[in-house]
């Protein structure tokens, strides 16, 4: 594996030898980092064209997103739904599926959790919380799993199906919240009945963010182990790289596709559960907050690596946390942050084509020089 290990006859390593061992490994970090910086530079040009100061912009992003305990609270409070929604994109992506309808699973997961919450009001609250989370995950999993099943059994394009099913999910949620599950006391904002206080999820100790952040971290680590360290994950990666080869090898491709999409959907449903149990206290139209769509961005920027999702989600949450301050201080519209994210997103996607093409990341480049 390492070049360093294969040179016992020399007393000291030359810089070239160290670099030839190091650079191939650094590729996965340096390329996205360079792309990120290029994105920052491109957006600076955009700001200059508008007659605004890029320095002020980045200073405000830093101030609002990362500079103080309050900034971190602001950033972290957005992280949980982003991480869980990103998993709903990343897991199917490892099988080569582009699922972009996580929003639907979040909304339905929230609805299922809220309705379960009213049903379990008489049970011990710990049990009730578990049942709520499971209900959210089950419905979310069913929703996105169905998209996987449509793909593998009927050849329906999963991207289109998931996007359209998100609209159906939102319409269903509105129907149930305004109809059968409406709390009669919610006059001007139709909602399900408010959760009992014991069923609400609070903040974590020392961190001003709810337990959903912890759940997101655990989910990412588990997904990484599943993909990188289990035979199931290995089979999924093979199927993702070459589905025909996987089928010829006798891998259970259909079950893998349905399983991974369902698991992704379950995490999105869990995001919906946390939105209801930690933030809103009931299900209503406020659940439709677009986290499912930002999750797509996070997953792609993280190149569908569950561990990379965490820092990327924190970065994007920090960007979004600064949106308000940028509106107020720089007199720029709220879409500024979206333009910024879009530019960074495109440049990072472009940088994907560079993998394996830059000679500085090959051991040979450094050994020759």
């Amino acid at each position: 594996m390492s070049t360093i290990g294969r040179i016992p006859d020399q007393d000291r390593l030359t810089a070239a030898q160290i670099l030839s061992g190091l650079m191939p490994r650094a590729e996965a970090v340096l390329i996205p980092l360079a792309a990120l910086l290029a994105g920052f530079a491109a957006f600076s040009l955009f700001l200059l064209a508008l007659g605004k100061s890029p320095a002020e912009f980045y200073a405000l992003v830093w101030k609002a997103g990362f500079s103080s305990a309050f900034s971190w609270q602001n950033t972290l409070s957005r992280v949980s739904p982003l991480v869980l929604a990103a998993l709903c994109v990343a897991l199917p992506a490892r099988l080569g599926l582009v699922v972009i309808g996580g929003e639907g699973a979040i909304v339905l997961g929230g609805l299922a959790a809220a309705v379960t919450g009213t049903a379990v009001a008489n049970l011990p609250s710990g049990l009730g919380m578990v049942l709520m989370a499971l209900a959210g995950m089950a419905l979310g999993g069913l929703w996105i799993g169905a998209i996987g099943a449509l793909r593998i059994k009927r050849g329906v394009n999963e991207t289109i199906a998931s996007l359209l099913m998100a609209y159906i999910a939102i319409a269903l949620m509105n129907h149930f919240v305004e109809g059968p599950f409406r709390d009669p006391a919610s006059l001007n904002k139709p909602s399900t009945a408010p959760l009992a206080e014991g069923l609400r999820v609070g903040d974590m100790p020392f961190v001003a963010a709810h337990w959903g952040v912890f759940a997101g971290v655990v989910a990412c680590v588990l997904c990484w182990i599943l993909i990188e360290r289990t035979t199931l994950g290995f089979a999924a990666r093979i199927a993702g790289d070459n589905v025909r080869a996987a089928q010829v090898q006798g891998l259970p491709v259909a079950r893998l596709v349905i399983g991974f999409t369902a698991l992704g959907g379950a995490f999105a449903g869990l995001a919906g559960y946390f939105e209801v149990a930690a933030v809103h206290g009931s299900a209503n139209a406020s659940l439709i907050a677009g986290y499912g769509y930002t999750g797509i961005l996070v997953a792609f920027l993280a190149r569908h690596n569950p561990l990379a999702i965490l820092p990327v989600a924190v970065l994007l949450a920090g960007f979004e946390a600064s949106s308000g301050l940028i509106q107020r201080r720089m007199d720029l519209p709220d879409a500024t942050i979206l333009v910024f994210e879009g530019m960074v997103f495109i440049i990072i996607l472009l940088s994907e084509t560079l993998y394996g093409r830059l000679r500085i990341f090959t051991p040979g480049f450094w050994e020759q020089s």
Binding site: A64, A69, Q73, S77, N188, S286, R328, D334
Partner: protein, 373 residues
């Protein structure tokens, strides 16, 4: 968090006092404007130039900006999620805001209720009229009786319609919206009891495509005056005008969009409400936790009547407005049935604009074509 909270006005006063002392030593002392400064934050759920709900609040914010000693912060397109809590805290912690106007209905529960106990020296003023005994003392809620404005719209519509059929594009069948629809029809029926009103619900507060479809459908069915209750009436307005229908406005003044086809409009008068609340705060007077008002109290106003309103229409409109301004006027009064044949008000029974029964309205009155479910 406690240390951060000190970054507000009180802390600012402390540091600016020191700074002033230093400046005075240097012989550069200026009047302590900063010490009087009040920072006020306005938060909108949609764009502040939507010709509708958000614009009406932004117009109020613009009036506050004109006041001396006040700094105004604004943020638009803030969803009713954790985002609004973050925005409020950001305004408090970064900009030292001590008076906040989070203007969307859904900002109240859970968001304001969560933050108000945490920032007890900040005043939260919410639009929607939700405050009740037991809610945080540093939070308040206000709202206006805009149904009266839709009643006056109805009078203008009643004089303009030739088909005797008027239309209403509505977001959701909730009490506030139903009250507007009913008031609009009853205003028209005060002109001609034969008039009917077709309503179409879009199901969302802001969904341009459905709003355009609904407006076109109303025009297809022969409605020749159209009004609405959605967040931004721009699409309804422009579509109705393209179909040659008269328009009655809502939320803000849409006459720039509708031209000569604009009859009048029921507008919020937040400029009057907000300047009053800010003046009270500057003077150190308390703002009541629960404030409501109508036309007479300066909470709502009517757009100037358009050229299409006849002299007879003008006369009846002004007479009704005077009656409402005098107080105690009831739009809903017996004998009145809903459109399913149930009795809403017996003969002699009347619901004034302040009647709490109107706040749980779940019916459309006789003469409205449409269903609440």
């Amino acid at each position: 968090m406690t240390t951060l909270k000190r970054l507000n006005r009180r802390h600012f006063l402390g540091t600016s006092a020191t700074a002033l002392g230093a400046a005075a030593l240097a012989g550069l002392a200026r009047p302590a404007i900063a010490a009087e400064d009040l920072t006020v934050g306005f938060i909108y759920v949609g764009p502040k130039d939507d010709f509708g709900y958000n614009q009406s609040h932004a117009e109020g914010a613009a009036a506050v900006k004109e006041m001396a000693g006040v700094t105004v912060l604004e943020e638009e397109n803030v969803p009713e999620s954790m985002d609004v809590q973050n925005t409020m805290e950001s305004m408090i912690n970064f900009d030292g805001a001590t008076l906040l106007f989070p203007t969307s209905f859904g900002y109240w529960n859970p968001h304001i209720l969560e933050l108000a106990p945490k920032y007890t020296d900040v005043r939260f003023e919410h639009c929607g009229g939700m405050w009740a005994e037991g809610d945080p003392a540093n939070a308040g809620s206000y709202f206006g009786y805009i149904g009266m404005g839709q009643y006056l719209n109805g009078i203008a519509a009643g004089h303009a319609t030739k088909s005797k059929k008027i239309g209403f594009v509505a977001a959701k069948p909730i009490p506030q919206v139903l009250n507007n629809i009913n008031s609009f029809l009853l205003g028209a029926r005060a002109v001609d009891p034969e008039i009917i009103c077709q309503v179409i619900f879009t199901g969302e507060w802001s969904l341009a495509v459905k709003e355009a479809e609904a407006t076109n459908a109303l025009a297809d069915q022969g409605c020749d005056v159209i009004t609405c209750h959605v967040d931004g009436p721009k699409v309804v307005c422009e579509t109705a005008v393209a179909r040659g229908a008269y328009v009655c406005g809502y939320h803000a003044d849409q006459s720039p969009l509708a031209g000569d086809l604009y009859l009048t409009g029921a507008e919020w008068n937040w400029a009057s409400v907000y300047t009053d609340m800010v003046a009270k705060t500057l003077a150190g007077e308390p703002i009541p936790n629960f404030v409501r008002g109508g036309l007479a109290d300066g909470f709502i106003k009517m757009s100037p009547l358009g050229p299409a309103v006849s002299d007879a229409g003008r006369a009846q409109f002004e007479a009704a407005r005077a009656e409402i301004m005098a107080g105690g006027f009831a739009v809903l009064k017996g004998p009145l049935m809903d459109n399913r044949g149930n009795v809403i008000a017996a003969d002699g029974e009347a619901f004034a604009e302040t009647d709490v029964k109107l706040e749980s309205m779940d019916y459309l009155v006789d003469g409205v074509l449409g269903s609440t479910s």
